[in-house]
């Protein structure tokens, strides 16, 4: 009697499970994120975060970069030549003026690498950027190479200006 109950439960469970709809279609091809980042981006927000603050305090210092009547900082990324350039009139430039750029992984990037004539700057990607993205977030972790101590994080939020 007991085994009949078990068999009934198994059969009933199988029927319920079979009601689950089949997955149709595929997830599509993985896209090259360098192509998605191609274009000119204009800064719309600048945040400073203290990684050593117990509450990871952040302050908005956008006013250093965004002033009335002055074009905010822009970065242009060319996906075909891998050239990049930065235009900046006000605020400190932490990205270098020009050079070559690439991603650590073109399909699932976490770091944007900017190579200028004198320096290589690694910038964390705040979020995945695709061809449809209107926003790009770049974070610079200021870490001392010799000690590994990170004293500040600069968060740059850009808007795409030539979709």
């Amino acid at each position: 009697m007991k085994s009949k109950i078990y068999i009934s439960i198994v059969v009933f469970s199988s029927i319920i499970a079979s009601c689950k709809p089949e997955i149709k279609g595929d997830l599509g091809e993985t896209s090259n994120k360098e192509i998605g980042m191609d274009g000119t981006w204009e800064l719309n927000q600048f945040i400073v975060q203290d990684p050593n603050s117990p509450i990871l305090e952040e302050r908005d210092l956008s006013s250093w970069y965004i002033k009335d009547g002055i074009q905010p900082m822009r970065i242009t990324l060319d996906a075909s030549t891998h050239d990049y350039s930065v235009e900046i009139t006000t605020g400190r430039n932490f990205l270098g003026t020009s050079g070559k750029w690439h991603l650590d992984n073109i399909y699932a990037p976490s770091t944007l690498i900017l190579e200028s004539a004198t320096d290589t700057i690694e910038v964390s990607m705040g979020a995945m950027v695709t061809a449809n993205s209107s926003n790009m977030r770049l974070n610079i972790d200021r870490t001392c190479n010799s000690t590994g101590f990170k004293n500040v994080i600069y968060k740059f939020n850009f808007n795409r200006i030539n979709p």
Partner: protein
Amino acid sequence: MKNIFSILLIAISTLTWGQAAFVLPSPTNANDTMTIYIDLSQTTYGLKGILTNHPEYKDSVYMWTWQPTGPACGNGEWGNSNDCMRMTHVNGMIFSITMVPTQFYGCTPLQLYSSGISCLAKLDNGNAFPDDGLGEAKTEDLRIEILPALCAEKFCYFPEASRADDFFTITYDNGQETDANLQNLGADECYVYMAAKVGNQTYAISAPADAGNNPLLKMEAVPNQPGKFRYTMIPSDFFASVAPAGANIQQVWFYIVKPGYVPTIPVTIKYVLYNCQ
């Protein structure tokens, strides 16, 4: 008076969601005095029952603590706590111990805020009264989260560690000013004398007597925070006009002035910049 204090304490204890252990004040400044309270009536281990049976031992309650670190003066032995860990009997089953946490634990503020405090209360001899059948004369392990009081000093810095080429913000709390001539500054009255220290030399933006009239040195009133003023700069850029080109700025020296007034003997604050070699 004592009754009023006790009632207040009980009310606060209730407001802190009936926690067996809590600190006051909260939010807490790691470098200032705070008090840990332990309410034995809300604990479950043996100490509560033992003290009920032996109320004459209420002056022999000690704290035993191990986080954020062990206490600088040491807990002592389980059978004989160190005197520095003795708690004060406040009222009923409430006991307290007062300390400056960074000194008491010998820890940094960040350690205190990130780790919180783990402790228990015990009798001087944690093995006392075995015949009561209540187990060791202690409470269970108690955990206290520490809510940081941000920027509680007269001068605060953001970020805490800043390089010469980083954005660096000084926040000044005029409410803590002890110089009577600088108290109650108006929104347009707060200026800061600033100099960069490079090697054995200092390079000031303005002479002290001129600092209070230099618009470059005016601090901004912080919106919605009466009495607080703030100044943000990038030291390597800010001092570029007075320091030698490429100078390695090691410290930022500063003190508060106002138009027409410079302290006769100014107390110069020396902020050491983070030096990444």
